[in-house]
Subunit: 481 residues, 2 copies
């Protein structure tokens, strides 16, 4: 776990002033270059008498003063966005692309955060103590965005330099409100096969929404400027209609209606990869398996394709396709398989997305995606055609089609895919200081203009007519109900 | 006209390299402060002998060299976004909020730009020469965004410092493609009452789309990354379904279906105000009229409200409500009226928007908006509740309601509205160097992540199912057809 367990002890250290002061500092590169040049100048003057050196030093001090003066009291227009002089008619955050977005982290009742970890631990026989949050380790699973984002915001501001968002202590200053409910962990608190459930996820979902609906800042915007992680496709299902105004951080829209979730309103986040990252270099020599898949053979809905793919592929000699459930041993076997294969199969699961895609990416194993309706994280930034091969389901189930397509890919082309995979790997590493977490915040930040617009428009609109603003593919016509 | 008439003569001077070089230059404030400080230093040294002065000058030159060196070869991370080192898997523009967006200005056949001005002039008896574009003055009217944006992009890069977009000469480098068809002027080329039309707007619209559909960059994205101005609600109506993928710059969505235009995909731009800007200070002393309106009493659709408002208001003694068409004289009278009134009525026209709102704003005359479905420009940035009074149509037509509501507004409250109006006035001044044009580009830039996402997603998606991504108000359910 890369974040300190007691990360929420220093929360109050973080405020916007510090972040601003930080932002005002000149870039280190500039001053170090300047000093180096100055030292060179000094060395050319060592033969001159002492007085001249003193004079030169004074000169330098004056020059430095002039520079610092210019830097610390900039006259450019960005300085005009100071909170104290900003006219209130202007919605500050919408006004500049370069201002860091300000996020308020709700101090939720503990039942929604550490309480969930506590229940999860207790249901597995631990005697963890809820009063000692340092003893509560968030357990590893596929949907850990909620943990990493909460941990990130909980760190002191000094450790969050470079983040696209700053945390603010005063909700009045906030552009966005982060609700750190562990909604995906909440779904899996009760171990499967338990006779008597010890915990009710549904009760907790409802309690959360009741708590939110009492909050002043929720009421003000009907939740429009609130951010909630619901990365397991089933997370928050009980209350989804009451939180659908929020920016939802999801894995896909497989279980959401068009008015509940969309690429416009929400952010698609990656699964937490569950196998070891491949740290070696690109290359085909040690990757003798053509295509690798290990996972559940039998899934619902779009995942029914899996059984058909098993039948087609299981007798191909350079293909490894194995049925296996999540376990430490199977993850170890999957790591080994993905690190030694050229291609990794990614068929749809119960919903179009699945963890395996991200395992493949960090393994530099070229994903072969057979999932026609998949949504992909950060697709405004990453061109997935350059790191993955997309095969339409109808083609993939033709005998021989998939393997002959993959066997035709030249080693040069494979190397190219691998290089591209390597260059985007960090976007899928929640642990990377400039990885998934920062990119999620960047994506969330980009929603802000539309959020501001929807809020200020809502305040002055009359009537309650059904009304949506959309972006559509191709020859699509839509109408409101 | 604030832009040089022969602005397109130097187009070829403008390329991205220059723009980049410009972006790297230190801010003028910095160097001028630096030189001032240095001059002060020199003046303290005038009593020293000549040699020392020379030495000091040399020293200064070295220091300046060091500074320039540091500035022109920056080591900060933004330099990493250089096109040559950027991995191609990353969609450059989506990757940083702070990069200026790169726009390619199509060199359209002249029939779509100066040809339209030429036809407009000829239809009014001018003998203007199409070969001498400097002689072709774009005529003033309500929908001049198309002219100002074209003029802005046509200026040399050196005059576009501070713009949220840079023009690039190479379309391969472009994030967005600007199509400078004068679509609103094209609508009004034929003077009303002409027996035999001299020009066909519809033919020109179709010719434009045929030309566009031949362009490599249009084909690549099906127009998704193209920007077209259609600010008159009737502009481009003939071909709207063939350009609906584009970012449309519109006045409202009154004549567009949900899949043709939306707040998500498009940008609402202000009308060009048609009366003189009020340059005086805030105050109520010289504003003796309570409410002012001058315009067409009889309009279609939502504009039918106007006749009812005339009946209710025309006998109120502190209200001026006059029927009048557009003319130089009526504009002079409207300037006078708006500059001496506290409130200015803005009822819906044929579509929910109208020029009058922007006349009122630049007059510091508080807009009273009676138009339930109006869309407002830059509403992610401007909180219109702070500069305007919104009255629901159903209430506005109750006898006495409007005037008693306005009479109850205290002078202090009026001053507050006026101050807010003054602080946002520049957003409605197409002439202002940091006014409407820059704000439109900023709004267009904010569409880029979604455009990049739609394009890269489209390339790898299978199937042609109807599909929209939406953001909705309240309890709305939508479904695709």
């Amino acid at each position: 776990m890369p974040y300190p367990k007691n990360m929420n002890k220093n929360n109050s250290n973080m405020n916007e002033e510090q972040a601003k002061a930080k932002a005002r500092k000149p870039k280190p590169g500039f001053l170090s270059r300047f000093f180096t040049s100055s030292q060179n100048l000094f060395s050319t003057m060592t033969r001159k008498p002492f007085l001249k050196q003193t004079l030169a030093t004074l000169f330098l001090v004056f020059i430095l003063y002039a520079i610092f003066n210019a830097f610390f009291y900039p006259t450019d227009s960005s300085a005009a966005f100071d909170a104290t002089t900003f006219p209130s008619v202007l919605l500050a955050a919408g006004n500049s692309n370069s201002l860091p977005v300000k996020v308020f982290l709700y101090d939720l009742p503990r039942r929604f955060t550490y309480g969930v970890i506590h229940h999860h631990a207790m249901a597995r026989g631990s005697r963890a103590n809820l009063d000692d949050v340092a003893s509560l380790k968030y357990p590893g699973h596929q949907h850990m965005a909620e943990w990493y984002l909460f941990s990130d915001l909980s760190r002191p501001a000094s450790k969050r330099a470079g983040s696209p968002v700053v945390r603010v202590a005063d909700p009045d200053e906030a552009d966005l409100f982060f609700v750190p409910f562990f909604s995906s962990l909440s779904l899996i608190v009760n171990p499967s096969g338990l006779d008597k459930p010890v915990y009710s996820d549904e009760e907790n979902q409802e309690a959360l929404v009741e708590w939110l609906e009492e909050q002043e800042y929720w009421k003000r915007s009907k939740g429009r400027d609130h951010v909630i992680v619901a990365s397991d496709p089933n997370a928050m299902y009980r209350v989804i209609d009451r939180v659908k105004n929020c920016v939802l951080l999801v894995s896909d829209f497989g279980r959401l209606r068009l008015d509940q979730g969309s690429l416009v309103k929400d952010v698609v986040v990656p699964y937490s990869h569950r196998i070891r990252t491949y740290d070696g270099d690109v290359g085909v020599d040690k990757r003798n398996t053509l295509l690798f898949f290990m996972g559940n053979r039998y899934r619902k809905e779009g995942g029914k394709i899996r059984d058909i793919l098993f039948q087609i592929l299981e007798n191909e000699e350079d293909v490894i396709i194995k049925h296996g459930a999540q376990s430490r041993e199977s993850r170890r076997a999957a790591s080994q398989g993905m690190h030694t294969s050229k291609f990794c199969l990614h068929p749809a699961g119960d919903t179009p997305s699945a963890c395996r895609l991200f395992d493949a990416i960090v393994s530099l194993c070229i994903p072969v995606i057979v999932s026609d309706n998949i949504e992909l994280p950060f697709e405004d930034t990453i061109d997935y055609k350059k790191i993955a091969i997309f095969v339409e389901t109808a083609s993939a189930i033709k005998t021989g089609h998939l393997v002959s397509k993959l066997r035709a890919v030249t080693p040069d082309r494979i190397l190219k895919y691998q290089k591209e995979l390597k260059s985007v790997k960090r976007y899928f590493e929640y642990d990377d200081p400039d990885g998934t977490v920062n990119e999620i915040w960047r994506q969330v930040s980009r929603k802000l203009p539309l959020i501001k617009l929807m809020i200020s428009r809502e305040k002055r609109m009359f009537g309650k007519g059904a009304e949506c603003a959309c972006i559509c593919r191709n020859e699509t016509a839509i109408r409101t109900l």
